[in-house]
């Protein structure tokens, strides 16, 4: 983070072959009894001292969810979560309002230090404000004042509900409606906390806003809710990254992220996801069922960049609704699966406005016995005159036991649209590896070199701090993976 990352560091890194962020923080937590029903929803809402409208929103979502069936179309197989065996609320014990870092639980500070993101360092050395989330409840926020001067709101979701209810009420569920899909409905009913961000008109957010998520309490589902609103003419770059402790029990994560880019605004949303992927035999690991979607108004732009290396099961399609004329949607993704991981990920670009443009670059890397699928939709509506899309979905195969799949849907209802889609699937080039080895580069290094080159197009889109971390992640994820 911010510091130079050298070859020597990488060498050190490579010595620790196992998943390095696999540890558990011991924090006493408030826990809801297992199961989901109206009472649980009321419990969560009461616990968070929510207004009546939000309780209604949750109860309605519960009703919708109860009528829905868990989707099975994705190219993943897993044991379905037992929704009644999950606790839908857990939070670190709330002591009192925190004034300084000294008041933060030392356990949490220790966790942060091991993750390499100590708050003091963040504050002093980098321009990154960190909203650190442990088990759904935000416990520490920094740089808030500095952002406050510009009128930028960056806080936990619960805080936003209390401090800025009008904004939350106006935008919540407008991009991902309650009944959108099974997991979005579940999230709408039980979301615990998350992040909220509002950039006022014409403001360019001076720093990358960053949130670290962390699943902590054993047997707890995570239901984050993120809402980012970029008002007219504003700009924000938002980072989201997550690590999770190592354990056997499958963990469910069903987050919802909504982005709203009003006229002339731009949102850049970057994710590095490295949750616990399960062990070498496919035991354990996080289930990541996320709904991410943004809406673009006139002349605005939303750019999704993701590096996905973790989770046992990933089911994630960050999408853009290009509603306004001249709006732009982008999706850059690197998804790596190893061992028995399964990822079904991609994007949807819905062109509604005139002169809308979208770009999709997806790079899948499959190793071990894993399965990696790209699933995407490009839809050009009747009114989307002069819409333009370019999609490229490449897959790299590392072993003869893994699978790579592409399912692009392209639906066009306007004759002026120009759509291009191309996809390739191939093995890592033997001649490339040979070339490197000839020049004294070990096979392992050669492969990481090639993979990084392959993913470069996407990694380049990440903010600096993230790009370094992402590059490290790719290498760790693919260690000993060539078969």
């Amino acid at each position: 983070m911010g510091m130079k990352y050298t070859e020597e560091d990488l060498k050190e890194e490579l010595k620790t072959k196992e998943y390095e962020f696999g540890f558990t923080t011991d924090i006493e937590s408030d826990r809801a009894p297992n199961g989901i029903n109206e009472d649980i929803i009321r419990f969560i809402s009461a616990k968070k001292e929510e207004p009546e409208w939000l309780l209604e929103y949750r109860l309605n979502a519960l009703k919708v969810w109860q009528k829905m069936v868990e989707p099975e179309w994705a190219h993943v197989t897993y044991e379905k979560p037992k929704f009644q065996d999950i606790s839908y609320y857990s939070a670190p014990k709330k002591k009192k309002e925190l004034k300084s870092l000294d008041e933060v639980d030392p356990e949490i500070l220790k966790t942060m230090a091991r993750l390499g993101i100590s708050l003091e360092e963040q504050k002093k050395l980098t321009g990154v404000a960190v909203d650190f989330v442990i088990d759904s409840v935000s416990v520490a926020t920094s740089f808030k004042e500095k952002l406050g001067e510009l009128g930028i709101i960056f806080c936990s979701f619960s805080e936003a509900v209390k401090e800025h209810p009008e904004l939350v009420q106006k935008y919540l569920g407008t991009v991902v409606p309650t009944g959108d899909n099974f997991y979005a409905a579940l999230n709408s009913a039980v979301f615990s906390d998350g992040s909220f961000c509002y950039i006022p008109k014409g403001v360019r957010c001076p720093m990358e806003l960053s949130t670290y998520f962390r699943i902590n309490d054993s047997g707890t589902g995570q239901f984050e809710r993120t809402l980012v609103i970029a008002d007219e003419g504003s700009y924000v770059s938002y980072l989201e990254g997550c690590t999770a402790p190592q354990r056997d029990e499958n963990q469910l994560h069903a987050a919802v992220v909504e982005l709203i880019a009003l006229d002339n605004a731009e949102i850049k949303y970057s994710t590095v996801q490295n949750w616990y992927p399960g062990d070498k035999n496919g035991k354990g690991g996080v289930f990541n069922f996320v709904t991410k979607r943004g809406i673009c108004y006139k002349n605005s732009k939303i750019s999704w960049t993701q590096v996905e290396t973790g989770s046992a099961i990933t089911w994630k399609y960050p999408s853009c609704i290009l509603k306004g004329d001249n709006s732009i949607g982008e999706f850059y993704s690197v998804a790596v699966t190893n061992n028995y991981q399964m990822a079904d990920t991609g994007t949807k670009m819905i062109h509604i406005g005139k002169n809308t443009k979208s770009t999709i670059i997806s790079k899948g890397i499959s190793a071990g016995n894993s399965h990696n699928s790209y699933r995407g939709l490009v839809k050009i509506g009747k009114g989307a005159t002069n819409a333009r899309n370019f999609s490229q979905c490449d897959s790299l195969l590392m072993t003869d036991r893994c699978g790579a799949h592409t399912y692009p849907y392209i639906e066009c209802e306007n004759s002026t649209a120009q759509l291009e889609h191309e996809a390739t699937t191939s093995k890592i080039g033997e001649d490339q590896v040979f070339y490197c080895k000839q020049r004294g580069i070990s096979e392992e290094r050669a492969i990481s070199l090639i993979v990084n080159g392959y993913a470069k197009e996407v990694l380049n889109k990440l903010p600096m701090e993230f790009a370094v971390e992402a590059q490290k992640l790719l290498e760790i994820s693919l260690e000993n993976s060539v078969g």
Binding site: W73, K382, S395, L397, M398, T399, D400, R401, C402, G403, A404, H405, T406, Y407, P408, Y409, I410, E411, C412, E413, N414, S415, T416, A417, Q418, L419, E420, H421, E422, A423, T424, T425, S426, K427
Partner: protein, 411 residues
Amino acid sequence: MTFLKEKIFDIKTSPIDSVEVKNALTQVSEREFPQRKTEDWRYAKLGKILNKNYQFDANEVKDISAFLIPDLEADLVVLVNGFYNEQWSNIKSLDGVTILPIEKASQLDAFKNHFNVLAKESQEIFTSINTAYNQGGVFVEVAKNIQVERPIFILNINAGNGVISNARNLIVVAQSSELKVIQRYVTQNGTENFNNALTEVFVKQNAKVTIEKIQDFSEFDRQVCTEEIHQEKDSNFVINTFTLSGGFVRNGLNIKVDGTNCYSEMNGLFIGKGEQFIDNHTRIDHLKSNCISSELYKGILKDSATGVFNGKVIVHKDAQVIEAYQQNKNVLLSDTATMNTKPELEIFADDVKCSHGTTTGQFDEEAIFYLQARGISKNAAKEMLIGAFANEVIEKISIDAVKDFVLAKLA
């Protein structure tokens, strides 16, 4: 009389005495028609087709001259509403080549060993209906080491109003033999006919089979047309599909490449006008190593036509050193036309080179301008570009007479 939607078929079942027919009857009763949520049928509006009280009718055809292909030297098999028509069929007997109505062939070993072997793997209800209720079709067998010079022309005629037909063909080409087949689908008169034809093809070791398929039913007719192909090692299979007309057309082409060192090629050109719906589904399963497959489908959509392309390339585990290429290019010529494309790759082996590409758009304005600058009217320039666009597929036709015929059809 037959109600498709309620699956009340009081028509007689297939004349083929086989357990396959009985199994298919059970399947018909058990299977559901595709719903809007059925993934493989998501763009097809089947309501109109299913909610129709179809007749079942042999019918007569008084003159077929309008349906022939000029200058084509071929053995002629005429199927009217799915019945083998002795009157118009014209076959020169050739040593080693068997061409028979299926009901007459049904006791031959070659027939029994191959009939429904591929189709029974299908989960489609339309396939089960064809197996259970076909009233005819043609069986073609080519013995070993014969290069059949004369192509076989299978002419399918819809004749009547609201007639359902289930032509069933079986083609077996033995080791190191070659055969070319032309399949044409036409409407004599009438409207709202439903043609549910199915052809199984076995391409044995080192054999070569080419199919030229031309669909020009009337704009009021419906068709679900299925080809099930099986390739053995060292074999070569090519199919070119031209969908020039028809109200609702659904093509299902499935190729199983079950041998090493095979070559498979699928090309298609579809032109949609008016309210037409044209749906091309192709699937190629690479089961063995060292094979090449190539696919090129092009669509031109005018008026309020809807086109669908769904190509699946599946490279199975242990099928190494596969090259599979797939391309789909579409042109929309009207703002009310729609194109839905879904090229899929499913790869379970690592030593592969697979790619697919698809484009949807309109003709290059600059190309049109270039032609206009040379005194060619805008419309003529567009026609010229359409011709060039279509020509890439038409060029693939292996029989000159058929090529000329398709070109003339497009002019």
